[in-house]
Symmetry: C2
Subunit: 266 residues, 2 copies
């Protein structure tokens, strides 16, 4: 019997986000675990995925995985082909790297079957040029607004680069930092640091439900975005750096950007 | 009849790289076009994909698409549900943004069904922390080595950030810039600019065939990588910035990095 641990990405939104390759792997698995805490899959139907692969899937919580250091998964992998299903791509978040290293230490072979990552879906939806993105940042829930996102944004802007901001989520509590909250957080840091990174006329692109059939996309000035209703989560936010006219055309055509953007960027 | 143009990502490597959602879209399409020139899918079997969706797929070359400004595709989309299949994710490369804008101008609705992008697959395979990547760069084929990749690399390193280098390909001619060639190109620019960005002791990670069942991954010093045989394309290259010990552990465990890396990075 094949002993291995295969990390399979679920992709985005629902059970149709997995690749044909991923589904084939599930069909030949001895044991399947799945976590849903590193990302939100709004329309995911576990029972339907079980029907598609004709196997039982065991949900594993962050608490269980952390408390027992992945013992359940590792023990299953020592007995047969074991799959760990992870939303998005299995290793774009680094959450599960330790589990993979532990498997190797026990002599269990590991493989990755990639899934669509929220990172690339957002870049793709935005119409912005991929190679012009600088460092990515997460805007966290916090009592006192974190300075790091503001600093990364300031640095990227100086370099003319776009910034992708992932917005914090606490999936088990069903809490999502909204685009409005994220902007407000950045505005508070702006008041402290005064580097003119965040003004009412700063351009940004809010994106909700990337990977869904009906993602929401709205580009504009912060003064307009702050009250825009993006609907259901998950959310992300892009602050463009220097914009090429092709990028502006894409924002006007597909992100409902105001035509004034044409005058601001050459 | 539904009139729309759906851009569907094929993902990586072969026809099993598409998502279930992508395949469902194909099954209900009136017309399907596909291009294979923006990326390499080494094990792709067109006939098998046609069997899976029970439809004919028309291959379209870069030359045709550019010469006729996508007329074939746009005319089909004015008559019924039309799908344009693109390797990876449809809009991570910006090649097809103009086609999408032209569709909108003609009153044709468009949608994106995402695919796995080489960008996120490489980051995921490397085990490096996604949020520590700076600007991405492509190392092109060229008579005189391009300075841009070297400059981007130098800037990212100064900021402590990782650099993902995509290596140029000319799919129709079956030509791929190899990892060895890419390193040599950077070495030539180093000799001109002397900024100590590229030395024999610079650490890098070469990756071949991301998305394939057997990707090749090798981390090490350039003096060791330069003669390493990565096998078949496609290729990419990562130059790490500041490394966290967890990243070093992952490189040693899964990219065959020398254990000396532990001493170099704290």
């Amino acid at each position: 019997m094949m002993k291995e641990l295969v990390f399979v990405g679920l992709g985005l939104n629902d059970e149709y986000g997995i690749t044909l390759k991923g589904l084939e792997e599930l069909k030949t698995a001895d044991t399947i675990f799945m976590e849903t805490y590193t990302s939100r899959m709004p329309d995911f139907n576990m029972q339907h995925l079980e029907e598609l692969c004709n196997k039982k899937i065991q949900l594993i919580t962050r608490q269980t995985l952390e408390e027992e250091n992945g013992q359940q998964i590792l023990q299953a992998a020592e007995l047969g082909k074991t799959i760990f299903l992870v939303p998005g791509d299995p290793f774009i978040a680094t959450t599960h790297v330790t589990l993979r290293i532990d498997a190797k230490k026990r002599g269990v072979a590991t493989r990755i079957v990639h899934g669509i990552s929220i990172m690339s879906a957002i870049v793709s939806l935005s119409g912005l040029h991929n190679y012009k993105f600088g460092k990515t940042v997460t805007i966290p829930f916090s009592e006192t607004p974190a300075e790091t996102p503001y600093n990364v944004l300031t640095q990227n802007k100086k370099l003319g680069l776009h910034t992708l901001c992932l917005l914090d989520l606490r999936e088990p509590e069903n809490r999502y930092l909204t685009i409005n909250q994220a902007i407000q957080t950045l505005q508070i840091v702006e008041q402290q640091k005064q580097q003119n990174t965040i003004t009412p006329d700063t351009v940004a692109i809010g994106i909700a439900r990337a990977g869904n059939n009906k993602p929401a996309l709205k580009a504009g000035f912060l003064k307009n975005l702050i009250n825009f209703d993006f609907g259901m989560p998950p959310y992300s936010l892009i602050f463009p750096g220097d914009l090429h006219f092709m990028e502006v055309d894409a924002l006007i055509a597909f992100a409902d950007a105001p035509v004034e953007l044409k005058r601001l960027f050459k």
